[in-house]
Each structure stands twice: as C-alpha cells, then as structure tokens.
C-alpha cells in the first residue's frame, strides 16, 4: 500500500483523512500486508475458497409485502430528517 493507492481509496470512499490518519493507516496496511504474506505461504492447492461460514443454501422467502415499521419509527435515530426524508450533506455527482 503506497500513498497513491491510499489516496485513490480515499477518493472512492469519499474520505478526507488527515496527514496523521494517513500515516497511521499506512502503518496498519504495512502490518496487514506482512500478515498476508505469511498466510500466503500456506499451501491452498485444491482448497476451495470459503465465503460462507455456515454450509447453508436457499435462505429465501415468499414474495409477500409487509409493513413492519412506520417512517417515524425509522427516522427516530436519524441524525437529520426533513419532511419524511433522510437529510444528508448536499451530494451531486
């Protein structure tokens, strides 16, 4: 992880890191990369990638619409809300 990649990730995630936070993160990634290098020495040939912890499939439901919450209940904890909308800083791409 170099500063250029970190800056790109910042941009993609709309983050605004301070210089101190950037240094801390670079240090963190350096450690993480070393750990990853150690892990990569393990022989994983013929081992299938594990995505799901539980061996479960078809956790599905029927197509039935239900209303379980009111808008007011959901917006009780909203930092900002207006006229039934969640309100966020102006975002225009």
């Amino acid at each position: 992880m170099d500063i250029k990649t970190l800056e790109r990730l910042q941009k993609l995630n709309q983050l605004n890191l301070t210089e101190e936070e950037t240094d801390t993160l670079l240090g963190f990634f350096e450690t993480a990369e070393k750990d990853a290098e150690i892990l990569s020495t393990v022989n994983t040939e013929n081992v299938e990638r594990m995505v799901y912890v539980m061996p479960m499939t078809n956790i599905i439901r029927e197509d039935i619409a239900k209303k379980l919450f009111t808008r007011d209940q959901l917006q009780e904890q909203a930092p900002e809300a207006m006229d039934g909308y969640w309100q966020v800083p102006r975002t225009v791409d």
Binding site: I64, Y85, Q87
Partner: protein
Amino acid sequence: MKYETVIGLEVHVELATKSKIFCSCSAEFGGEQNDHVCPACAGMPGMLPIVNKKVVDLGMTAGMMLNCDINRVTTFDKKSYYYPDLPNAYQTTQWFSPICVNGRVDIETSNGPKSIRIKQIHMEEDAGKLVHDDWSDTTLVDFNRTSVPLIEIVSQPDISSAEEAIAYLERLRDLLRFAKVSDCRWEQGSMRCDVNLSIRPEGSDVLGVRTEMKNMNSLSAITRAIKYEVARHTRALETGSEELVQETRRWDDNEGKSYAMRNKETAGDYRYFPDPNVMPVVIDDEWFDRIEKSLPELPEVKRAKYIDELGLSEYDADILADSRALCDVFDAAYAVCGNAKETANWIITECMQVLNKKKMTADMLAINGTSLGQLIKLVMEDKVSRPNAKRILASLFDKDIADVEEFAKQSGFIVSNDTSFIENIVKEVIAGDPKSVADFKGGKEKALMALFGKCMKQLKGNANPQVLREILIAEINKI
C-alpha cells in the same frame, strides 16, 4: 475512411414482485417518501438480507425467454459504491456467478434477421432517490426504491446502429412483458438502458474508445443519443476535434447533446467481493422444471395461431398478441364460448373501453376469462341482451363471478322467453302511444322504433329484439 459502430446495451428491468429483493417492504412504484422502508433496506447495522424467491423465479424466466444458460448455483456479491442513495455504501448484485449467461435475442432489421448475444443477466437491488433541496442546501434521501428488485441484461457489443438498438430493446420489452417478468414501463423507470458505444474503421477487429451513456429512459432519446455520439466519435477521429476518452456521459435530450460526467470506474474500483450475508441459491431440477413449464408461447406464435387456426384478422391478432393479459383472457374465454371472432370483439372493443375509462392499460386486464366466455355464450344464445351483457361485463371487472348465468338471473338480466309477457307489455305501450301507432300505419317507419324502444325499456332490455319486433308489428296490425 468508413467507420462501423459498435454498441453494447445494459438494460435494467424492475421485476414484477410485490416485495423488495432482500426484505418484505412493498416494491410498489410511488407512495409517500420513505413509506416502503424498513431497517434492512435503510441499511441499518445488523440487518440481514433474505432473498425473495419470486426474484429468482423471474430472473430464471427472463433467462429462459432470452435463450440463456441458467447457473444452477447462483451467488450475490457486494459492489462498493459510496453514495447516499445506497445506504449500505455497496450494492448487492451478482458478479461471480450471475443467474443467467450466454443468451441470444433475435431481431429483425432492414438488412434481415440478426442475433444479439446476451453476455449475462444478473439480479440486483435498485438504489434510492435523491432530491436536492436548494433552500437548505442539502440532499434529501428517499429509500422507497432502495432494494426494489432488478435484473440487468448485458448484451455483447453486437449492435451496430440506432435502428438495431431499438429493435433489440423492443423485442426485449415484448418478451419480458409477455412472460410477466416486468411491466417494462420506460416512463416509470421500470426499464432503463445504459448505452456503451465506440466506433472503429470498417472491418477492424480492434475496439475503439468506448463511452457510456447511463439511465436512458425512452426509445426516442436513445435513438438521438446514439446518432449524436456516432457523429461526435467520427468527427473526433476524422478531424481530431477532440480526444476521445473512456468516460461516462450524460445525455441532455432537450439540448440534443451529451456531456462528460466522470471517468468510468473500472471493475476493480467497485471492489466486488462475495456477500457472506446472502447464502448461495441452488436451483434444483424441480425448481428449474417448474419455471420452464410456466413459460408462455412467444407472441409471434400466439399471433400465428390466432390467424391460422382460429381465423382472426391480422388486426385482431396483432392487438391480442401484443399483451399477455389479453391473450390469457382471450384463450380462457374462447375455450368456453368457442367463438373466436366474438371473443376478440368483446375484448378489443368492450373490455378496452372499460379499461380506458379506468385509465388502465391492456396489460392490466385482470378479469376472469372463463367468466367472460360464459357471458359471450349467453349473448350468443340470446339469453342476455348486448346492453345488459355490457352491464354484467362491468361487474366482471369489479368481482370474480364464477357462474355468470346465475348472476344474470339474480340481476334480472335474463332475456324473457315468455311471449305472453312480452305481448302484454307491447299492448300496454301501444295503448299509451296511439300517435306513434297511427304514424307507423301512415308509413312512418321511425315511429315503430319509438314504440320498440319503449317496449324494450319496460322489459329492461330482457327481450330478443327480433321476437319483440315481430310481436309489436303483429299487435299493431291487429288494430
């Protein structure tokens, strides 16, 4: 130098489900802002998605209609995308194992038939809607559309003109509407299209610089946008007027121009990774067979059958075969009454009139076809007059009537076969209107119609017109 156009389309189609893809909130279009929302689709921590089975059904149906291979084990992935209309900061979609791959849509062009290959169809959630409030200088978020189920149909870059793009989109719309996968309404955003376009010297097998126009929502705008972009790319290559770069562009249909938006993120930027919260969906033979058996006949097969086997006119067959709902009602009604022309007339004229009054489209025709068949049979057997049959038809739109003859009896709509009863009514009317009687006898044919109308009114329409006319003339002649 001559150039050729290379177009690939990504078409988003909202699926015809009652609830969202990963939660039970209503997927209905519209509603008050944030009225169809729960902690799951609002992206609150700890909420777990549960896949809507109907979404998989419709994904498979779409794939089968478009000649795709179905992945029997299909999985969901996270697509990183930081924007307030996606509260999780990622979209749950399919990247590694989409539900359908390797399909084909056959179209007709001015140069003859052509096949457009389908790369894949994947299931995913829609994003919410943002409203920019100038007064407070903030953005307001409505999550009603968040997690509404979509399929994205990705074509290979096999399309080489605006005309072919439109033919492909129209065919796609016909097939998906016919299979009841979606209502495919451009104006409501339930069908949207991203256009990927490049040009290259004719005969070259190297692709040119590609630009993408997102969220196009009408066929006319797509046509204009493609023509504009082809001209812009050609001009850039021929005169060096600008440097073409891979980018996303916004089409402004009012101005008839496209504008650069941002550099296109590459797949890596989305940092796709498997979503461990959504378990894989395994489609067994039973599930696969159930969907395969539910597929409708293609519209053109229906059309040919109506003309060749049932003797309908091309005009009638075209109207019926344009809508699965009309076909379903027609097939069921015809099976009961056995008269194709009469059934087509009742649907195309009478049913459509009721739909128009209710401001509904043909696809919304939801009356019981068997009941309509019973009604048509009663009219054909002169048991119910046409005016009264229209009244019964209006009732069929409001409720399911299993026994239409019984309903007609209870409503007093059965034509009377009791000639003595009709004779008594006729005598009463004649006695009450001697002037019309005298006029008719004096040669005024119209006077008979006046008397006829009065009799029919008293009989509440429940008389065979021919029988009534004969009795009326006979009674007048007795005077």
